[in-house]
Each structure stands twice: as structure tokens, then as C-alpha cells.
Subunit: 340 residues, 2 copies
DNA sequence: AAAAACTATGCAAACGATTGCATAACATAT
DNA sequence: ATATGTTATGCAATCGTTTGCATAGTTTTT
């Protein structure tokens, strides 16, 4: 990267014009200010000389970096790769680069990551890590930082977000289980300080009500994190309780795997003795044993929609806030079956 | 991001020194040039005022961006997330940000991605997309771009790379299968223009030889890509052939899933009628049906080692090239069993 | 005491691009 | 022909930081 650099001045000297003229020709917005004859000559020479703008100099002057910071909890959670893919495809097509950071659901890490993004003057943020009440969101609003929340959102009402409709998802799950004859349905809830945890629980409650079933507090366990271990632990508690149940709805696929673990350890047949449903349809959910019935959220679309909205915000700060809820689908596989 | 900026000059005015003094105090390498009294005063005032260097101005002057470009084939392949994680953890600790790009194994995409990274003046590259003969590697060498290859490498001999030892892996697999009594072992090979495809095939051949078994050309299928579909297609061809076999070794876990698909479609019991082995131990391989026996490559370590070497190269261009092969482990699960 | 060496700090040039403003050249109206 | 309006281009300031060099002040050596 220490190769001799061709600058605007080099091109200008070769064509016999001033560097500001070259700059204006190379910017499509100002090209029309120059005659076509000079413009063609400049474009030709710039290409021949291999001129490439210095991004730092541009950014220093324009205060724009054409980067976007994306915060995810943990890139090794397979649900986030499709989201990033959707984000990257959209932003890359508009000349932006994506800087991804993991926060591991640690608030301190989230703050230091935000700080780093500020130092880098990212043009905007996509935040997939927000809690329902989140200082980062407050900070971004106060500072006027363009941002969009993806997957999870804070409680703030006039901020943009792209989520999956967790209530529709919950209704679908309970309806499916009810049709299979299930009446005692347990719920393994994610942390309530995340909107995914909270809203999926509300969706469970609503689904039960709509199916004419009674939601039983003793058949609900609230987990501290969306993890396999917590899912397993919750299932262990449910099985140790006095209330029997014939189905478990887990707040995401990772926790559903924990449910699987516990059922298997206790010699309970998943899909036959007890039905299990997850949420997200993360990659390879169809390869599990048994293939997991789950709510498919269009993760790539979540990413690309979030990126689209962010681009609008960056280009026009007056873009009104927008909260988009994408409709999920229930994918029935072999982890659910008729009540025995 | 349009908040009023505090500059070096503002801090300098407040302390009553020159901005170059502030700059030298804030740089640990030059702090000792200033008296402790002035240094403490500057550090205090800078913190109080919330001074933050302008990264663009720094980069324009120093020609350093403190970013690293990472090229992966496809972020949704679960094997790459741990690699990125390892890379990010190491680089982030040294003040770098990671810009990730997907190339989808398309050479044109790889070239345009490299071009974008050049425009951004990333300080170095980690390339997880190289073919055995790859123009990008030639370009980087000619230009003196610091880079390290990860997972896959080109044939060039004096370039740095961090790989898994595919031969050791192959030997482990064949030895394991031989111990289970398998003699007719089929191999589903990845594309030979990738080092992973080629070297894992060589490992297969070497393992067979070392186990005193005859590698049979009719029991080898070469795939055009590392994909589930190709793995399935290859298995279909193997089953349609005249040679019987009792085990399949697939060049990666994704292709092993394709092997699973075909066996299941044909009513063949995986792990009982035919044993299956993969390579990579991608996340959730233990959740498959049956849990996959596979070669575990320490993906996070591949990432962090590659990042470490790259940092050395960036800091000292004379760092000698180094090719590291990490030792894999065989993880035996339920997809392999005794010959029937 | 004078000369030489060392240290601390300020000055200003440089990095490369963008863009407001000035002005020369050209076109149109009187 | 003269006055007015429009267009094309160059000049130079700006963005904010780093760093070579100059120089004033201090310390050490002769």
C-alpha cells in the first residue's frame, strides 16, 4: 500500500487544467459544470493513469466515510450471518463498506464499540443488540446519529426498526400446536429486557388466548439469555414441576436445542412424547434431530430492509422514522406431533 | 455525526500551548519529548473537553487506516463465523477494525472487492478465498500489500498462511474407518483448484496408503463446489456405480450433509449401513441426524493466528513469510460405525 | 567564562480532496 | 457598439493531524 499515488494534481497537469476542474468532472453531480470536451479528456486520462481518489482526503473534507457500523451480539450465532449478508448486499451496492462488531450482549462492550464507530465516523449504524431500554439508543438520538434497529428494538417509538412480527409468530405456533391437540403448552422465554424475549412472550400469551387455551404461569420459565444451556435448564425445571405438558415453545432455535438436550437426556421422545417449536429458522434447523418446527423469519430481508432505511436516513436526515414488521412463516418439521 | 468537533487546536488554546505539543503528548511514542507537567495538563484538558482525534486527518497524514479487509467466500457458511471471530478479537485488541466482504467464490467479485479495499487503504488483507493459482495473490505480492491467507492458500511458497493440516486430518479419518473395519472407502472431493479440495484429497490418498488400503479411482468423485447439492450428487453417482463401499469421507461438513440427504432418500442408514465423515466440525455438526463424525479444525485459532501474523507484517514489512498448519482433531460421533 | 551539547516547544509545510468566490470569456439584450 | 447576464474555469482556503526543522533555554564540557 506504499505505491506511488496518482493525485488529482497529476491528472490535471497532464490534461492542462486545474485540479478543481478534475475534481468537478469526476463528481457526477458537478460534471455538467464542465464542457463535454474537457470532461471526456479528463475521464480518459484519469483512467489511463489509474487515478483513484484518496478516501481519507475526501472524508476529511466531506466528513463522510461511506462506512456503516453493524453491531451484532455474536457472529457465531447462525441467525446473524444472513442478516449481515442482507445488509452487506444492499450497502455494498451503494458504495458503502460494512464494519461488523460483536458485543456479546455486554453493555460495556456495546458502549466501547459505539465509541469506536464514532471515532471512525461511520455514516450510520445498524444496531442488532439493543435492549428495550438502551442507553445507546438515547445517545444516538441525542447526537443525531443515523441508525436503524434490526431484529430487536428498544421501546422508543419514533425510531426506525425492522423486526419480525413476533405476535403473528406466536399465534401461528399456538394455533399449530392446538390443531395437534395440545392444551398444556409450556413456554421457554428469552430475557425480557430484549424485545425479542418480551414480544415473543406476549405472542405466546396472545396465541393461547386466541386458541381458547389457558396460559399457565407454572408452565413458563424466563431465561437469562438466549442460549442452549438456558433452554436446557428451563426444560429441566419444567419437567421437575408438578404440571404436566405435552409441548414446549422456545423463544428461539438455540434454546430449542437446549430443550432437545434435556428431553434426550431424560429419554423423552421429541416430537412424539413432547412436541418442540423454536423461533428464527436459523440455518440448519432442518438438519437437527428431529428437524425443528420453527417460525421462519426472513433474516436476509431484515438485513436488506434495515440497510435500505438507513441509506435513506443518511441521505436525508428528515426521513421519518419507520417501524417495519416482516411477516414470519411457520415451518412445520418433525419436532411437533399429535398429542399422545 | 455532525456534532461540533473538538480539535487539537481547541485543546492547545485552552492549555496555552501549541497544537503540535498536544499532538505529541497524545501520542505515547512522543510523550516523553514533553515535560510531565505539561503532559498531565494536556491529558486532563483533552479528557474534559472530550477531544477525539479525527481518524481521516490522521490517516491522510500517516497513510494508515487501522482497518483490515477480510475476504470470505460466504459468511452464511457457518465455518467462517468462528474464523472472523478469531480475527476480530485479535485485531480489535490492537486498535483495528475489520471490514468483511463476501466473494461468493466468484473471481470477478474477488477482484472488485480487492479494488474496494485498495481504495479504502486497508492496512492489510486476510484472504480466505484464494484458489491454488490466484491472480489476487500475485497482485498483492507485486504491490507489497501485507496479507495472510487463511483456511485456503495459493501454491506460492513464500507467502504467509494459516491452514489446518489436511494430511493429518485425512490420516485420522482413514485410520478411524480402518479400525472400524472399513476397506472400501469412497471420497467426495472438493474442487481441486482450492487447496482445501486438493490437499484433503492428497490426505485421503496418503491415509489409505498408510492404512495399507487401496484407493480406488471409481470410489472418488470430484465436485465443482463445496456444497450440499454437490455432495448429494456425488453420493448418488457413487451409489449408482458398480463398486460397493461401506464408508464415505466428504471433503467438508456441508458436503457430508449432502451425503446424508442421498443416503436418507435411498433408505440407507447412515452410521449403520454406511459410515460418513466430514471435515471442519462446523457449528452444530453435533446436532445433525446422526451427529457427524468429522475433523475438527480450530477455526477460531486459524483466525487469530492469521491476524497475529498480519499485524507483524503491517508493523514490519520484513517479517519473513510463515506457513502455519494447525493440527486438527478427529471428533467421533454417530455417523461412523463398524462394518456390517 | 565561553563553547558545545542537549532538551523542550513552536512554526509551518504537507497530506489530497472539495468548494466558495472571483474573474475572464462568451452570449444576449438594448 | 455598449451594457447586462450567464457560463466555465482557476485560485486558494479549508478540513485536522503529523512531523521536520528552527530556535530559545538549559545543562554540560572545556
Amino acid at each position: 500500500m506504499s505505491k506511488t499515488r496518482i493525485t488529482l494534481k497529476d491528472v490535471a497537469n497532464k490534461v492542462g487544467v486545474h485540479s478543481s476542474t478534475v475534481s468537478r468532472v469526476l463528481n457526477p453531480d458537478t460534471r455538467k459544470m464542465m464542457t463535454e470536451e474537457i470532461a471526456e479528456k479528463i475521464l480518459k486520462v484519469a483512467a489511463e493513469m489509474g487515478y483513484r481518489p484518496n478516501a481519507f482526503a475526501q472524508s476529511l473534507k466531506t466528513n463522510r466515510s461511506f462506512t456503516v457500523g453493524v453491531m451484532v451480539p455474536d457472529l457465531t450465532n447462525p441467525a446473524f450471518a444472513p442478516i449481515i449478508k442482507g445488509i452487506d448486499n444492499m450497502l455494498e451496492a451503494h458504495g458503502y463498506s460494512v464494519i461488523v462488531a460483536n458485543t456479546y450482549n455486554l453493555p460495556d462492550k456495546q458502549q466501547s464499540t459505539a465509541e469506536k464507530f464514532r471515532e471512525r465516523h461511520v455514516d450510520g449504524l445498524i444496531i442488532a443488540t439493543a435492549q428495550r431500554k438502551d442507553k445507546l439508543i438515547e445517545d444516538c438520538r441525542r447526537e443525531g446519529t443515523p441508525f436503524v434497529q434490526a431484529v430487536r428494538a428498544s421501546n422508543d417509538t419514533d425510531v426506525s426498526s425492522v423486526l419480525s412480527d413476533e405476535h403473528i409468530g406466536g399465534n401461528m405456533v399456538i394455533s399449530h400446536l392446538a390443531q395437534l391437540g395440545h392444551k398444556r403448552i409450556a413456554y421457554v422465554a428469552g430475557p425480557q429486557f430484549f424485545s425479542t424475549g418480551y414480544e415473543r412472550y406476549q405472542g405466546f400469551l396472545q396465541g393461547m388466548k386466541n386458541a381458547g387455551l389457558k396460559a399457565d404461569k407454572d408452565l413458563v420459565v424466563f431465561c437469562d439469555e438466549f442460549s442452549e444451556e438456558e433452554g436446557r435448564h428451563a426444560t429441566s425445571k419444567l419437567l421437575a414441576g408438578r404440571k404436566k405438558f405435552t409441548a414446549v415453545y422456545a423463544g428461539n432455535d438455540i434454546m430449542a436445542l437446549g430443550v432437545y438436550d434435556e428431553l434426550e437426556a431424560d429419554g423423552i421422545k421429541c416430537g412424539k412424547d413432547i412436541s418442540v417449536v423454536g423461533f428464527d429458522d436459523m440455518p440448519f434447523a432442518d438438519k437437527f434431530n428431529p428437524p425443528l418446527t420453527t417460525v421462519h423469519t426472513p433474516l436476509v430481508n431484515v438485513g436488506s430492509e434495515a440497510a435500505r432505511i438507513l441509506l435513506e436516513k443518511i441521505n436525508d436526515a428528515a426521513t421519518p422514522a419507520r417501524s417495519i414488521k416482516l411477516k414470519p412463516d411457520l415451518i412445520v418439521r418433525e419436532s411437533t406431533g399429535k398429542v399422545r
